[in-house]
Amino acid sequence: MVRLLGSWFIAPIDASLLKPIPFLAYVRFMWILLRLEQVRIGHWLTAMKSMTGANIGASIRSDSEVLQESAFMISVWRMISFANVFILSKFDTERQTVDDNFKLAKEIRCLSILCCFPIFIAKRRIFILCCFHFIQSIAAIARKRPIYYKSVLSALLDFAPSFEVAKARHTVSIQYSLRTAFLGFLRCTHPVIAESRERLIRELRAMNAGDAADQVIRQMDKIMKNNERASRDLQLIKDDQLSNQLHVSGDVTKKRLAPVDNEDLNNSSDTTSKRLRYGLHNNIPATVDFNDARQDHVNGISPKLPVSDGDLTPEEQIIAMIGALIAEGERGLESLEILISNIHPDLLADIVITNMKHLPNNPPPLTRYSNLSLNRPSDSSSDPSQVVASNGFPTIQALEVSAQVHASSSNTTSLPFLDMSTSSNPSTDSKRDPRRDPRRLDPRRMVVPVDAPPSSVVEDTANPVQYLAAQSDNDASSLSNPPVLPPLPSISESTSDLVMPSADTDLNLSESPLISEGNQSIPKFEVQDVEDNEFTPGRETSNGLHHLSSPISKVEDSVVQASIDVAVLDEAYSPSSSEADQLSPDRSTFEASEIASTEFPVLPLYIGLAEEHQRNTRRLALERIINSYQNSHRTDLKQTQIALVARLFAQTDVNDVIGMVQQRIVSDYEQQKGHELVMYILYHLHSLVISDPASSAAVVYEKFLLGVAKSLLGDLPASDKSFSRLLGEVPCIPDSVLGLLGDICTRSQSGSDGRDGDRVTQGLGAVWSLILGRPGCRKACLDIALKCTIHPKDDVRAKAIRLVSNKLYAISYLSENIEQFATDMFLSAIDQRFSDSVVSQSADSEKRVGGQVESAETSISGSQASDPEISQNDNTKGIQNASLDDTSIPSLQAYSLMSLFFALCTKKPTLLQLVFDSYGLAQKAVKQAVHRHISVLMRAMGSSFSQLLGIISNPPHGSEDLLTQVLHALCEGITPPPDLVATVKGLYETRLKDATILIPIISAFSKDEVLPIFPRLVQLPLNKFQMALAHILQLGLNSDLVVKYLEDYMEMGIQSSKGSAHTGPALTPAEVLVAIHDISPEKDGLPLKKSSMHMACIPGALVTVITDACSACFEQRTVFTQQVLTKALNQMVDRTPLPLLYMRTVIQAIDAFPTLVDFVMEILSKLVNRQIWRMPKLWVGFLKCISQTQPHSFRVLLQLPPPQLESALNKYPNLRGPLTAFVNQSSVQTSLPRSTLVLLGLAPPEEHMQHPHVTSSLHASDPSSSVRGATFT
């Protein structure tokens, strides 16, 4: 987390942010985040550095416009100042880490920036806020850390005049703030501050705050006096107790300064060794002078300091005070507690050290210490000052004793960091040994078994552990050096008491990494008013140490490791180590170090914040950003805001804010800022996922993306491209989002709000762009698209297929997959496997078969943009299908499954081979589906069919129907291209004798070509012949004939094409008729056709297909018109022999066109002339024709020779009467031969008197024949 944050902290400071954007907002939230996320200050400072240093200079220079615009400068400075304010605020609030922070601050020359800070205050209003905090903060620092007082004061004093520049600003408030700060200084009793009291008062007077200053001074004087009084009391008590007489005199300031002066008296070797150490530790040269200042401070209270003169050091003074208080007993205890808890830790350390020389020579009673040792473990984690407070003055001595032990033990192990002056005290140590013993032994007995002596001591030495750990970067090499260790046993031999301390030291070193690892950021002995939650782990760690028992040998092994760890640790917390450095040369003994480590522990580089606080604050921050900039239209603001929101969001508990952010995003999407925001957020989340795969960020990411996607779908119109863009640009697409996409595409998630179709388009559009733009999820998206292509809903399918075939199939890396899928689907359709897989998918479609079929049909026409006429036919067809429940469903399913494949065939005709190959295997329903597809396909293919010729020329077995279908579709409405014609002809001649395949191309045939195959055509089933006829005559395919044919055959509509280019029919209708009549069963080998449709009316004649053919012709009255018939009949009447069906045709003609009667009479006359009665088959027809055309036929009848007339009248007796009447009335009677008249009874018969009987007998049979004639027509 920290690492990540650190990286982004620096990341935002790129070129884009270095524009004059509102740094205020940016900084403010960085600052909040800094606290929230417990980011390391180092990161922050790095960011600051990059802001302050060359980066800014460079970017300014590179952009002169920006330079002119001072806003840039101001923004930068605003940022810097905020950073400083922040750091300073930490000084104020986080007392434990002040020094360390301050060093870091120095690292970026914080103070120098602070000092120039006022210059810029004048320039921008916001700086006044910084001023306040600046003043407050550094004033607080100065009070808390007097050593910085000088710097701070000079900064403040510099500051004072410079704010005059800030005209039009509310300087009064700043001045007031300064005033407060100065007054605060005045209240402070610290000598360094007190030193500058005069100066402060002068300043305050200048600010017209002299009164307040005086008041404060009066207060302080009062306090001083009280102090002195207390000291005096103390002195009296001490006189009795202590051998060393103390004088209490002079003011505190002077006393306090005395040790500083004494520093020079310090022994010189000590000083040099210190210097050397600093030389080793020169990584922070900038800190040197502060270190020096610190040295002054600390050295001044060093125990080695010879307190030769009579002046009391402040420590002694306070010790005296404490003594006085203790002397007061219970009453004084409370005030003592308050006093000690208020004493600065440094000072406390000094006090203890100073007091050491007052240690009595005789050990106090043993019980006392065992008491103490009983207390120790439990109190070990509490504030030392409290320990002191509760146990009273002697406790201090006790603590101090233990400190001494450590110092001495360190000495005896001759570790390099030991100071000579300290090690010159072994005698004192040994003298005190007896007192140490009980303390050492007691806790061990209590906590740990005896056989693990070293570890038991840990509880006492928990603090030194840290201390040493911190310290050991100086000494790491020597400590980790095995040769250093051997001396231990020898020492332990010499002085048994010292064994344990020395072991302690080793153990401490080995344990130190444990401790530091356990609570890196946590001071072990945290003053208790710091957060408890930080405190607890520390205690745990020390508890853990209590139970840790490791033999010394093991400790030795781990020493190397420990030292390494320590070194690492020191790197991380270099400020702390440097802090320790300052202390170490002083030999300030254990107590000092303990207190030091209390105050300056292993650094808490982060500011702890309770989880709840963090969350809450994050949310607040987020809310505020979102709300406050909602209405802002400044793009630069937005830019910053987005970046911030994204980061905050990524680290916030999403549930709290997801709704809010989403709403904001969607509302802002139009300006594309919402999108940008989403991107920022998602990318941040994603980076979290990447950096830590185990984190919950993945879940959040998915949830958020899904939420945004859904709200985009829900709130924006389908035509909006945002959704697609969102998916296209997000860092990664989880499965759930793909699922959502799939749902959209298949329309399964949206309601029936009428926008479904659009949504599908939107979804598919997104899929398309994802496939193109995101290779990562190409496969998944392709799957979605492909799944849609077999979707039962037709608009989904149609759209998906259009997408896949038109757009995706062209993409090389996809085509193979698509093809494979399409082929699989096609084959599964053929194999009927789909019934398992698809039926389940389309369960709903089964439930409403009829409607489904309807829509299926219309959708086909819709998607193919056919004209309404055909789609009407589709409807009728659909109804038909619907009636065929069981077959239509598979058909539809098959149709769905195959759609894609056929769509691909358009692009790649060679795929059709598979269709042809597998066609034969398919069921009828599937074939229907294939037919529907293929005709559509062929039309779509247009002129590019040439690749088909290969297939056509060699059709697989069983695919004849399909082939015909293909040919029909290809030739429909156009003149068949020559190569196709040639191919088909070749096929017809070589392999396939079925003339059916010729039908589509027959219109391209010449008359000479048609006539030879005409018998074959006639031989075809009637409907096929009709088709052929239409082609031959090049009828428009919209004629009833063709449509009917197609309906019957293909069970689907075919788009008609009118007005196609005709080169002229191969045959005229008349020629067709003639050709039909020319067919002779004998010559052409036509088989008899068992037709259930017609019974031949020609007695004895073969009921042949020819009859049907003729009938078919006559059905086409628009084609086979009166004129056509006239022409044909005229042609044929002269033929010899007359075509067999001639009379039948004549009768049909007269039936169809009664106006032809005159023409027919001419024909009949001609036939009479040709002695029709000699052709028995025709004679029957002739008579029938006469009979049907009476009375017009009477003239022709009368032309017959009398025997034939008689036979005719015999055959049709009902003719006789009208004929006789006709003859009587007309003038023909005279021209008639007598025999005829006789026959009619108009002339006296000579020898034919029985004839009437004959005719009457004939007459009797007439009704049946007339009935036949009626049926014939």
Partner: protein, 193 residues
Amino acid sequence: MKLRYAMVCSSNQNRSMEAHALLKREGLDVASYGTGQHVKLPGPSLREPNVYEFGTPYKHMLDDLRRKDPELYRRNGILPMLKRNVSVKTAPQRWQENAADGTFDVVLTFEEKVFDMVIEDLHNRNHVLLKPVLVINLEVKDNHEEAAIGGRLALQLCQEFETIENWEDCVDDVIINFERQNNRKLLYSISYY
């Protein structure tokens, strides 16, 4: 922008309550506090003030003073003031003990001493949210007439802040304008929650 205001005087009786009542009537989000150790009300003489603990209900004070000397306290306006206070909230609250009341955006004090105390108190709190709070001092004398004027000024100032989006940005302008318009001197500072 909707801000949260705190009116602070020393006893949370007169000035802060006057402003509180007024702002509350205007629909602003407001609370009021005192910074003193105790709630002090004028007594029969300067040396004998009526002293209550914070948290003592106004009603109780009202009854107490009525019992003691209704005439005196009616004359010096204490009783009417307490009646007004009863209608605003239950009891005086102490600023230093208001941590549980949440954060404020603007704190308005009516006395420099109170201003200092508020600032110091805010500094001494644990800064957790780092949410800036603007502390403004509007010097108002502690009598009824001035309090009434001060209340109106406070309202005006707060309404001014209501209209702006980020007080951090233009606090100076607001303050300076206000000073010019009303011929008053303000002090302000910031602190953080």
